[in-house]
Assembly symmetry: C2
Homo-oligomer: 479 residues x 2
């Protein structure tokens, strides 16, 4: 099944447009693609006419061309008729927004079987039903929520596939945007009657050149598809990340009424995924942290260099003792290791600082530079630590409160990191007045987090990717 027409259509048609209700899903999709996206848009309306400047065609066969993608926003029985029309006319792909299929059981299940039969027999890439569909910037957007109501993430390296549309546009889009994580394509799979996680993994791994990280939010694998998924993940050159909702009994009850899937025994799934080089964050925040770091590593201007290897040996640099304590706590929880400095290194570190701060600073690991720190102290320390080979990564807890830290500090640090290629992750509090510092780091692709925990998680994510990449390399070697 060719998914390229689904994600990179040259033309789309929309059915299920209301002339009366400006908030009907079909109408919203029609208008947002016409006015916000880069695709040729056709609207279908039984009596023709026009809507907000867009000419409407009475039937699909009246269109001047066969569209690449049909977006269906009508009731379930009519939906099946439209899929049959796709088959008859040779429309290669479709997004079905509406529900009334397997998720309601009984007759809905029958409907879905009918739908699947037509799609598979005619090789139509059907996404859904019961989904938000595709957001593939800058080409197409089938999300039926008004754009001004939601938040869109920037363009980047992550293909994001979610079994829940709500989680996609809220948990992910909002937080991707906050964290500046870029998506290549975002997909809401709904009931995944036809296009499922396996096909998507295959497409994004093998076909799509824009994707280098493939992230799934799933409540369970589609029945009978887990084995194939694992095999593809193991072979993928991209980084594959899977996060499961519905891990507990309560979660499972919710899942079953939500998208009619079976969550399975989580522990067994976890081990199997790990053996197939799939990265599995433990929480949604951890997932976001992983993706932020991997998106940075996929960037053409990756400040950490091409070959980031981190087994978890870290130096922590803080301007606040309390933050250093918190970071040390979390480091331990994540199984990471604060390297020990020799007496000579400690002396050297002390000598690099202004005399007032040098007296009160602490040069264990974590290093506490204290509130008497100057910009140049931070520069000197980062530069020195970057050259110590056994330090694989530096966590910089950068509080801009000490009076002598200037607004140049972000740029200054960015320059050092770019020249040293040592991974440095920063914590800077999320306060609007410090956006100048945050932006100067982010512009240089240095990941900035707004909690201490996330900055530690970022190192853990680097470590996990090192593990997976090494296994993949070994695999190639033995083949």
């Amino acid at each position: 099944m060719d998914l390229e027409k689904l994600f990179k259509p040259k033309s789309i048609a929309v059915v299920g447009i209301s002339k009366k209700n400006p908030l009907s899903p079909g109408r919203i999709v029609l208008l947002k693609n016409q006015y916000e996206m880069n695709v040729k848009v056709y609207g279908i309306y039984p009596t023709g006419g026009e809507i907000e400047g867009i000419k409407l065609y009475e039937r699909l066969e009246r269109l001047p061309e066969i569209p690449d993608l049909l977006i269906i926003a009508v009731g379930p029985d009519d939906t099946i008729e439209y899929i049959q029309e796709c088959a008859d006319l040779g429309i290669p792909s479709s997004v079905i927004i509406g529900g009334g299929f397997a998720e309601i059981g009984g007759k809905g299940k029958k409907r879905q079987e009918k739908l699947e039969k037509i799609a598979f027999e005619n090789d139509i890439a059907v996404l859904g039903p019961n989904c938000l569909g595709v957001y593939a910037p800058p080409i197409v957007d089938t999300i039926f929520l008004p754009t001004e109501r939601i938040t869109r993430p920037p363009k980047g390296s992550v293909a994001l596939i979610s079994q829940s549309g709500g989680v996609l546009v809220d948990q992910f889009f909002v937080k991707f945007n906050e964290r500046n994580i870029g998506v290549s394509t975002a997909v809401s799979i709904g009931n995944r009657a036809v296009v499922d996680e396996v096909m998507l993994l295959e497409y994004f791994s093998r076909v799509d050149p824009e994707t280098s990280n493939i992230a799934f939010y799933l409540e369970g694998f589609k029945e009978g598809r887990a084995r194939k998924f694992l095999q593809l993940a193991k072979e993928s050159e991209d980084t594959v990340i899977v996060f499961f909702g519905g891990k507990t009994r309560e979660g499972k009850i919710a899942t079953q009424s939500h998208t009619a899937s079976l969550a399975g025994d989580y522990k067994i799934i976890y081990d199997a995924l790990r053996q197939h080089y799939i990265i599995q964050p433990h929480s949604e925040r951890e997932l976001l942290t992983c993706l932020k770091v991997y998106d940075v590593l996929s960037h053409r201007r990756n400040p950490f260099g091409d070959n980031v290897i981190t087994f978890g040996d870290v130096a922590i640099v803080s301007v606040s003792g309390g933050h250093a304590v918190l970071a040390s706590d979390i480091l331990k929880k994540y199984g990471l290791n604060a390297v020990r400095f020799s007496q000579q290194e400690k002396r050297k570190l002390k000598n690099l600082m202004n005399p007032i701060a040098a007296e009160i600073a602490s040069f264990n690991n974590p290093i506490d530079l204290t509130g008497s720190v100057l910009d140049t102290d931070i520069e000197n320390i980062i530069r020195y630590l970057s050259d110590i080979e056994r330090i694989e990564c530096i966590i910089l807890l950068l509080l801009p409160y000490p009076p002598n830290i200037s607004f140049q500090i972000g740029r200054r640090i960015a320059n050092i990191i770019a020249s040293k290629n040592k991974p440095v992750v920063c914590f800077v509090p999320y306060v609007p007045k410090y956006s100048l510092i945050i932006e100067s780091l982010e512009l240089a692709n240095i990941p900035v987090f707004h909690s201490i925990k996330e900055s530690v998680q970022a190192v853990s994510a680097l470590k996990e990717r090192t593990r997976v990449d090494n296994l993949k390399l070994k695999n190639i070697f033995w083949e």
Copy 2:
């Protein structure tokens, strides 16, 4: 020792002002109190003169009155001389900003002993050394960081005591502000040579009428003071919350060089605290969530009524199936329970909704109202659930993305909650364009969280407070 002069001084004097360096700690403190706070301010400078419009006195004894509080921002040896002057002149309290005491060991330790001797013999309430001191709005602020660099929390019910100044102004002030949690007084205790956690617990429990929640961020108890602390906590009518940094070995190493304390064996401490009715969050985020909820409960206009009792029986209402799944997962982790609805209740719930949404919505617990939801559906469901007695708390996952949800929704829900007095905690995504909805809930003192996890933590916090309050009641009964 009387701490009232420390936290509510009528006049303060500042020593350690630089005429050359506008960023010297003493000068920053002098100016911010003069121009931002409500206290009479005197500056001390050896040759007198004036600075930015403030007359400077040559020595303490030249002041026209004995100040209530002396803020000391000079080197450690001069500091001790100033404390002796406090004794000689009868100045009842002091904040020592600078370091060079027990935290550096050796001669620093000796200095601190000398300091303690003078303070205890003369009954001077000394805060510090090595601290940021006091932020007691609107009266006094001894934090030597320029106000425009930091964030100040709103006024409220929480006395916040931190062993780390950096954690206080960053982790807490920033996040209190984001979450709209109010402080009565914030205290950075530094080395706590004299004024320590025990005196502060006593003062805020027994003396300060503005405080009803007392929160500590500690890295360990002061030696020999744990027993007294626990006893006071057990007797306190306020809610006492303790969060420990430095729980792990790595954390402890950081702690010892930071404020020269011993973190102790965490597990033993945990159990002892629990037996003494102290609430112990497991993470910093959980701490913030607790404080937000308790601050709301302490408010004169508390929308949940006077007697909030929650053993953890919850109803979850969502407009997104995926969010419902995530919330169920987390609910389980926190040992909370989604109540089961009877068939009759499910029918009733279905009948309360608009016919389109009713067909596709799911009425298990979690309830998934779907993207076809209207404002009135949410109102009806919340109103109905509020009347079911066995539901102790409602978690509302309110995504404003569905096109028919209006900007009125916050106010509408707030009105129902205020009339029903059933605890409802809301999740609304943190997106600037939805601040109208968030504010309308917050204005009615309904706690809004921006992650699903925090909204579940909030219920767990209510449950924990129920446990503690019941124990306290029992205690009174048996006495």
